[in-house]
């Protein structure tokens, strides 16, 4: 830089201008895309806070003014959604915990211990990541409804457990389904982490004569703590957001056991059309748990996505 300036001032001036112009353009684009990704969300929030009249009269992205500001949409949506919130959490939390544990075990068995044919077994897991759920929908509904009606069998037991209702038994088949189909992706996430660990850790323990179980409990579990967090956040988001399984296994949005995603499209709908104020409020309430998780753990979430692709 200093050399260039001693050669000719004119060049430096044009260079600086050039760089500045490019920089400004670059930042303008960055800000444009901030708008691109944020406007649908912003429009939704603003609409959620407006009265019906406000929604009809004002611009969709404009903030509500004194008269058109209201919290009644949110209140109404919360009342409609509160039971399904409980259902969603009762479904997503146990399913995620089971999922993460089983996947960590599978990944351990498939990476840290080596045997012939491992790649073949791993491929069977990998295919499971990509199978479109439509391809198992018909069997799924037949299995849980006609062949093995677990929900009906469990209903009497659930009714006597405090805090739980009879209809919560319908969540059990749903949880098992989520765990089964979540295992492949979570296994791959754990595997990419275990593959990156130094080999020497396990080798040393092996030479000391530690058993496979001991190595898992004493060495692998403690060091994979951060990955447990990543996979938990990723998988909780997936299960909480999932729609198709609930749609298949729980009879309609009117059902008592309906999770949030199943109920949401019914909130604020009437014969005369959609009440967008209420609908947007409901959408944001429904998204709130994952948004909060995302805001708090954005880095971990991104990490989960990155390892998924690698």
């Amino acid at each position: 830089m200093s050399q260039a300036s001693s050669d000719s001032n004119l060049d430096v001036v044009s260079l600086v201008e050039n760089v500045n112009r490019r920089r400004i353009g670059q930042y303008a684009l960055v800000i444009f895309f901030l708008g691109f990704f944020f406007i649908p969300l912003e429009t939704g929030i603003m609409t959620a806070l407006k009265t019906n009249e406000g929604v009809a009269r004002s611009l969709p992205f404009a903030p509500p003014t004194g008269e058109t500001f209201t919290l009644s949409n949110l209140q109404f949506a919360l009342e409609r959604l509160s039971r399904s919130f409980v259902n969603s959490l009762l479904m997503a939390i146990p399913a995620t915990i089971l999922n993460v544990l089983l996947a960590s075990m599978a990944a351990y068995g498939l990476t840290m211990v080596s045997w012939r044919g491992q790649i073949g077994m791993l491929s069977l897991f990998l295919v499971g990541v990509f199978v479109p759920y439509q391809a198992v929908l018909v069997p799924l509904s037949r299995f849980w409804n006609n062949i093995f009606p677990l929900a009906d069998l469990l209903e009497p037991t659930f009714a006597v457990i405090p805090l739980l209702q009879g209809y919560h038994s319908q969540l059990v088949p749903l949880i098992i389904t989520h765990v089964a189909y979540g295992i492949p992706i979570c296994t791959i996430l754990f595997r990419s982490y275990y593959k990156g660990l130094p080999n020497s850790l396990v080798e040393a323990a092996k030479i000391d004569g530690a058993s496979i179980t001991k190595i898992y409990r004493r060495i692998v579990l403690p060091i994979s703590k951060p990955m447990f967090g990543v996979v938990f956040i990723y998988q909780f988001t997936q299960i909480y957001n999932e729609f198709l399984f609930s749609f298949t296994l729980i009879a309609g949005s009117n059902a008592d056991a309906a999770p949030v995603t199943l109920l949401l499209p019914a909130v604020g709908a009437s014969t005369s059309g959609i009440d967008y104020g209420i609908r947007m409020s409901a959408a944001f309430l429904a998204a709130l748990p994952t948004i909060l998780l995302y805001v708090a753990f954005a880095e971990e979430f991104a990490k989960g996505l990155r390892t998924e692709s690698g």
Partner: protein
């Protein structure tokens, strides 16, 4: 690798002493058996769900099952597949599915690459900005469908406010069959291009910085440097991002279903998944919908199989 060699040398005894008892003892002591509780339990659960489910689905697709009592497995044939191919609605859904798959993946990749390069170039608060770009990805299809239904609203949605503000006629984004699919793809790109960006950012970070410097010394422009030197090195990122995006595209059912409304014939946006669910849950044609689902699975496998082979060849499996 090292572990494999040591286990093999201990498990394979010298040839003279091999009788079946020692063989069995060695087998039961092998790492395969001892580690099997770890991968075996998850595998059984997942295997029944995935492979058992697929098998049962194919079986049902060969029957005439229509929801009443139970399917009869005595006369199996491919009639449902023939019906599907003869059906105009099925062909249209299949074509829409392919358009969605290709257009969504291509646009998301290009936009994702562009965003990654934009952010990778000494932008301040890069991590924070990246977080905002990726935010839609954390939302459920059901939620984003509500947001875009409002954005696309014909009277007072955001897009038409802009369009009329510019002095044009309002556009029926989702009602006009000619542009409805494009509107859907646009919304999906909004949700998932951040994903492609994250993958590309990771890829860009693995490229040594001095390559930029070297290209600059050679007098190459930034654009040229990227097109000729950097982008070709991102091949692996592109492949893995493309595969995952395609899988998202194949799962777009939930988005369409929530956007268009329950079982309503989607206006030029019917894809195999929506067609399948309508046939099953609305009309009770379970065998027919199972046949559609099988073809959807074949479509997915035709994307995944080459990817798995590629990964295997690269040695990154």
């Amino acid at each position: 690798m090292a572990t494999q060699e040591t286990t093999e040398s201990t498990t394979v005894p010298t040839e003279e002493v091999v009788d079946w008892q020692t063989k069995l003892r060695y087998f039961l002591n092998s790492d395969f058996v001892r580690s099997s509780p770890y991968w075996g339990i998850p595998f059984v659960l997942m295997g029944i769900a995935v492979y058992g489910g697929i098998g049962y689905n194919v079986l049902i697709s060969l029957t005439d099952f229509s929801g009443i009592s139970s399917p009869t497995y005595t006369d199996l044939d491919f009639e449902m597949y023939r019906t599907a191919f003869a059906n105009e609605a099925f062909r249209e859904a299949a074509i829409n599915n392919l358009i969605l798959l290709v257009a969504f993946t291509t646009v998301s990749l290009i936009l994702g690459l562009f965003l990654a390069i934009l952010l990778d170039h000494g932008i301040r608060y890069k991590d924070k900005i990246q977080t905002v770009y990726l935010l839609p990805m954390a939302l459920s299809f059901v939620v984003t469908a509500q947001l875009w239904r409002w954005m696309y609203n014909q009277e007072s949605g955001f897009l038409n406010v802009v369009v009329t503000g510019l002095g044009f006629e309002p556009i029926d984004w989702l009602g006009n069959p000619e542009i409805a699919l494009a509107s859907v793809i646009f919304a999906l790109v909004w949700q998932f291009s951040g994903y492609a960006m994250v993958v590309y950012l990771a890829g860009l970070q693995s490229i040594p910085r001095d390559q930029f410097e070297a290209a600059k010394v050679d007098g190459a422009s930034t654009l040229r440097t990227y097109l000729r030197i950097i982008v070709p090195q991102l091949k692996e990122s592109s492949v893995s991002a493309a595969v995952v995006l395609m899988v998202f595209a194949l799962k777009a059912f939930t988005f369409l279903y929530s956007l268009v409304g329950q079982y309503r014939p989607p206006n030029g946006t019917d894809i195999l998944a929506t067609l399948m669910v309508r046939q099953a849950f609305k009309f009770g044609k379970w065998a027919y919908s199972a046949a559609i689902a099988t073809m959807l699975l074949l479509l997915a496998l035709s994307v995944i199989a080459p990817y798995l082979v590629y990964q295997h060849r690269q040695g990154s499996l």
